[in-house]
Symmetry: C2
């Protein structure tokens, strides 16, 4: 075994005070907040250049573009990604409750802006199902299907579709403003709060919402979009109510497509290694469905709802509606956060794989500008879809040139080939969306994993998922975040406290319940505080500490005070005899109270005070990573209570920062002083042994002597 | 100095594995959740009796009531408290926007119920200004002064005052239900989240609201109550707009009263020790004001608004309105929380002072029932007021008998003496409320204290106070709570990481920046993680760690892989000569890659890979009080990166619970194993020294030998 060496140490035993005396400390100047602000605002030429470059990353990577090596890959990748982007654009526009043309817009405009501003070279910018659905929720809230639209003056004179486009582009514009603002304020770090667990629960809930929202298309029903809390239940209720009037053609067609696509996908997943490129089954299905629908005139013959009139070319830019901003601010913010978080996490994966850095704040700026730019041209919320980005990267894309080419593909369809898509049944799009939810829904399996490993995370997952399903995605995300942050508090709030004891023959101290052979010196308790101390757990620790020592010092003190009063009376009646018999030290202070009594000695017969078997209490502070002011007050009070019943309190392994803080917050006074701090438990223990061995040896002598002098003093006073 | 002893230890150097081998462990059975539930639901006779007794604390303390000792004190205290309760009842009913009679109801009914159910013997149950104001906000929202009331069918056929009473009693009823439910579910611990700092900021904001709400009375203006966010600003706007039309009589009278009461209070505070009882200046003022107002007929002569018609006797009970429940549920919950939190914190102070225990959950039940009972008889939200409780305790109250007597006083006034109060001007009540805000407003001084001691707490204080002022008390409380919980996350999220080094001649390791003389062995880094690790800070720690070691292992690994490819080519061209010249260990694995290269040795001229000066990394985990799954994954990834570039990673002082958790979460695999855990930094350091001293001594021999065998193997393969 490599571990079989000796650990031999011989050094002075320290307390923190003596350690500080012996080992000189630097007095470090810590930067004040002002210094940080100054640093931040300093500005020189080099810095300016860097800032300028970082704002336009395209300049950086274009200069090092290797045309011969990368161009082919980028073109191939751009074309394949473009096909997917077109398909997804059409399908996800259904989620956003918008005409399909606008999905193609979303595959074009945002990608253009991202080309110039983005730092990721691999993500495919465009529509993302969860975002589309979140936008769709606002759209159907403000412009419901079968009811008059919200009271917004900008809606006047617009058709329902145009009203919807106005809402979607306004929400997207606002989302872009939020992202841009966060990027400029450099607060991109907020996405760390969206932990993997939270995102997994949230996207699973989104998958459920997407599934439900597509049911009406695959069943060929006409169910109005409902938004707000519990909308999913009302929607399901309506769908089941109308189930009987489903369009058979739609149901058959979408079932066939779902089964075929599912099987092909499973097979190509299994034989991935053997296939040169993944089978573009969605594209094939779409083409086949289009032809069949056109050939048999599904729209007329079977009353199948088709994509219908595609807008050829681009419409003029529109200004966002401020009234919509006011109505949807609470929803645009979570959309902005989710959009960025997804894009950033996908971008990070590929940046690690291909070894380049991405800049979170610049990404926020890029997406902010992309969305503002896109919204001005009527496209809706853009982020990235994991599936599309995977296609772009795996088919050989090296830079955003591939993104640009995929945007061009979307443009070509918009400008010239849109009419080909007109006979495509919406149920086909719905079926394709549903079949792609498999991955997201499979995340449900995480519940049992999480439950076995970490109950708290399981609660976060289930809490986020359920609230996002029931309350809607935006509110659900907020609730999930709240639950997640609460778990951090909870974890530190009720930790497992333990009483430590010495492992014989070592300087190590472990939980006394864990080991068979363990040394617990009499009269000493070592209590470990295994987490930070703050307002929410100081009372908990106090209770646990009292439980560990087995008595409440406050109560002991009160009983002693009562006994003192009795003894005072006794003393006044009986005089010196009692004193000599019963007490070690005894003197009168100005109030006429006995000065000091050895409470563990035999007391007069009619006076009983619980005995305290403890003379020293050592608190292990090694895991206390911070202390707040409530904790500081509570701790001081608890320590004082022990000190007043003659228990010496020591604090071991306290972090230097915390000690500094205690000093600056006037924690120390006549009872509580810095000499109670020791660098290790063993140092404190050595001190305790030393003090109490000497004392037990010399106690009687000393106390007898003192007793005499006190008595003399008393007699002179009397 | 007492610290000057020697610290001498000689023991085997351990790693956690060898320690576990040598020191037998108990295999403790931890209780599962099911066990806890079973324990909780177990039911035997003794337990039943205890539960029954704890539900009716009056039985407990009545049995030990010492009539001779306590009765006199209770009666005197009851009478004095009663006078204060009547005054406050009248005044605080103005805050609740209700006719003053109902304030007297609130001083009677809840106290009756609390007498039977409460565990505190000293608090005076009745109206509390902050609660009254919160109820008032709901009242003026649903039944505004100059506008039609909310669309609630229960309002039909009621006068405005009766509508308001219905709203107030329904909100109080709902608040009681919330409190009762929390008590039954035993979740009284939630009040720990209301830290001192939060409560201080919140009550200061409440004082500002109270001040503004009373301005209209002391100025004699008729300003309708406004509720909702920013209402305080609109109210102030209206008041300043009407300032010119103030009632001079009201202004003069209230100014005089405020000055007189303020001075008398200051004086009696200063000469507290010399006064037998505090001067009942409020009562005297009220009597004088009543007489003067009656004598000069202020109501008619100066158009002063007076208390007016008091209801003589009690009205019949009313049922709460379910519609009001629906309208006010979001507001009743914070009212329930605040009401309980204030009462509980006051009760705790006196229970500690007088050494008896109070039971948080029973208190919740007591206040729940009190409020439900009170609401049925048209009284509004009850809790306790610190000032009134102070009177009850300081004037000799020993038990809730005093509370009962004070309730009787209120009853007498309601039934018989109410008419005496009818000429009392409302401005007098307003002035008395304002002058009593001094203590709450003085809390503003805390800002500078907090800023110097703890920036986070200062942010919580200011955040709570500002949001409670601007957004209203209920929403402000929620925002404050959110900010407070976020600070807990923040404190653990960006802690100060440090690189440790040895204090020469000891086994202690301290921040290397702090000490002048410090020993930092070459090739070893000791990195201290000073807080729990979780989703929000794992990336932060990774960055800090890379900063501390000075290189990014992932990048090194990638450069090495590139170099390996080059070397492979070189090797294939040049054959064995290069190998012998340049490398220590070298072999082919199945993919044809060289097996192992000493990257710090001289590499062929055209290949350059950054050298890594580090051979061992020790992570000090002593302050890591928990780890979540994201952190676990991130940590594992970070460790693996280091291990792959041949840096040995050791983890020191890891908590036993965390080690168990790592084991159960499949943290360990071929690269990451339990042998990297060491009980102390020094143990790990000894291991490192041992390993690298031996290695440098024996390295050449060993590596030469291996080199040979590998070469032989290679030749057989070729």
């Amino acid at each position: 075994m490599t571990c079989r060496k000796q650990y031999v140490v011989a050094r002075p035993a320290y307390c923190e005070d003596s350690f500080a005396e012996e080992h000189e400390k630097f007095s470090r100047l810590h930067k004040t907040m002002l210094d940080h602000v100054k640093d931040y605002l300093t500005c020189d030429k080099k810095r300016m250049k860097n800032v300028a470059l970082s704002l336009l990353p395209v300049v950086g990577w274009m200069r090092t573009y290797r045309i011969r090596e990368w161009m082919l890959g980028d073109v191939v990748s751009g074309v394949s990604t473009g096909l997917v982007a077109i398909m997804q654009g059409l399908a996800f526009s259904l989620l956003a409750s918008l005409p399909p043309s606008y999905g193609l817009y979303t595959a074009f405009f945002p990608a253009l802006a991202y080309f110039f501003l983005g730092t990721s070279r691999h993500i495919s910018v465009g529509s993302f199902p969860v975002l589309s659905l979140m936008v769709g929720a606002v759209v159907t809230r403000l412009v419901p299907e079968n009811a008059p639209p919200a009271n917004i003056t900008d809606f006047e004179g617009l058709t329902q579709d145009h009203q919807r486009v106005l809402v979607a582009s306004s929400v997207t514009f606002l989302m872009g403003i939020f992202q841009l603002a966060m990027g400029v304020l450099r607060v991109g770090f907020v996405v760390v709060y969206l932990s993997d667990t939270l995102v997994s629960g949230f996207t699973t809930a989104a998958a459920v919402h997407i599934l439900v929202s597509q049911l009406k298309f695959v069943l060929g029903l006409n169910v109005p979009g409902i938004s707000g809390p519990l909308s999913i239940i009302y929607t399901l209720e309506k769908i089941f109510g109308q189930m009987a009037s489903s369009n058979v053609c739609d149901v058959v067609m979408s079932s066939v497509i779902m089964v075929v696509v599912f099987i092909v996908k499973e097979l190509s997943e299994r034989y991935k290694a053997k296939l040169p490129v993944p089978i573009p089954v969605e594209v094939i299905t779409t083409v086949v469905a289009c032809s069949v629908s056109y050939g048999f005139n599904f729209e007329k013959t079977y009353e199948v709802e088709v994509v219908g009139q595609m807008i050829s070319g681009y419409e003029s830019p529109i200004a966002p509606s401020v009234e919509v901003f006011q109505e949807s601010a609470m929803e645009a913010f979570p959309i902005a956060i989710v959009g960025f978080a997804v894009a950033f996490s996908v971008a990070k994966v590929y940046s690690i794989k291909h070894d380049y850095t991405i800049d979170g704040n610049q990404e926020l700026i890029a997406f902010g500008v992309s969305n503002i730019f896109g919204a001005s041209f009527r496209s809706f919320a853009a982020s990235t879809a994991l599936s599309r980005t995977a296609v772009q990267e795996s088919s050989g894309g090296k830079t955003q040139i591939a993104g640009l080419i995929s945007a061009m593909m979307a443009m070509i369809v918009t400008v010239a080939l849109g009419f080909l898509l007109e006979p495509l049944p919406k149920s086909v799009l719905g079926a394709l969306v549903i079949v792609n939810l498999k991955g997201m829904l499979m995340q449900l399996r995480e519940i049992s994993h999480l439950w076995r490993r970490d109950k708290f995370e399981c609660v976060v997952w289930v809490g986020t998922c359920l609230s996002a399903i029931l309350l809607g995605l935006d509110l659900g995300l907020a609730v999930g975040l709240g639950v997640e942050l609460l778990t951090v508090v909870f974890r530190t709030q009720f930790p497992r406290c333990s009483v430590l004891a010495n492992i014989p023959g070592t300087d190590l101290y472990k939980d006394r319940k864990d080991y068979l052979h363990i040394l617990e010196p009499k009269g000493v308790k070592i209590f470990r505080i295994p987490s930070p101390i703050f307002f929410a757990n100081i009372e908990f620790f106090r209770d646990k500490l009292l439980e560990a020592v087995g008595f409440n010092p406050l109560r002991i003190l009160r009983k002693r005070n009562k006994a003192l009063k009795k003894m005072k009376n006794l003393f006044e009646k009986q005089g010196d005899t009692m004193m000599e018999e019963n007490m070690d030290m005894f003197s009168k202070d100005p109030k006429g109270f006995p000065f000091h009594v050895d409470w563990n000695a035999e007391l007069p017969a009619n006076i009983s005070v619980p005995k305290v078997g403890l003379h020293s209490l050592i608190l292990d502070f090694s895991a206390v990573s911070f202390l707040d002011i409530s904790a500081l007050k509570g701790l001081k009070m608890a320590l004082k209570e022990f000190i007043r019943v003659d228990v010496d309190v020591y604090i071991a392994s306290c972090d230097a920062c915390i000690l500094d803080k205690l000093k600056s917050c006037t924690f120390f006074d006549d009872d509580v002083h810095t000499s109670m701090f020791y660098p290790t438990i063993h140092d404190a223990m050595l001190h305790v042994f030393n003090k109490h061995n000497t004392e037990t040896r010399t106690k009687w002598v000393v106390s007898k002597k003192q007793n005499k002098t006190k008595q003399n003093k008393d007699t002179t006073l009397l």
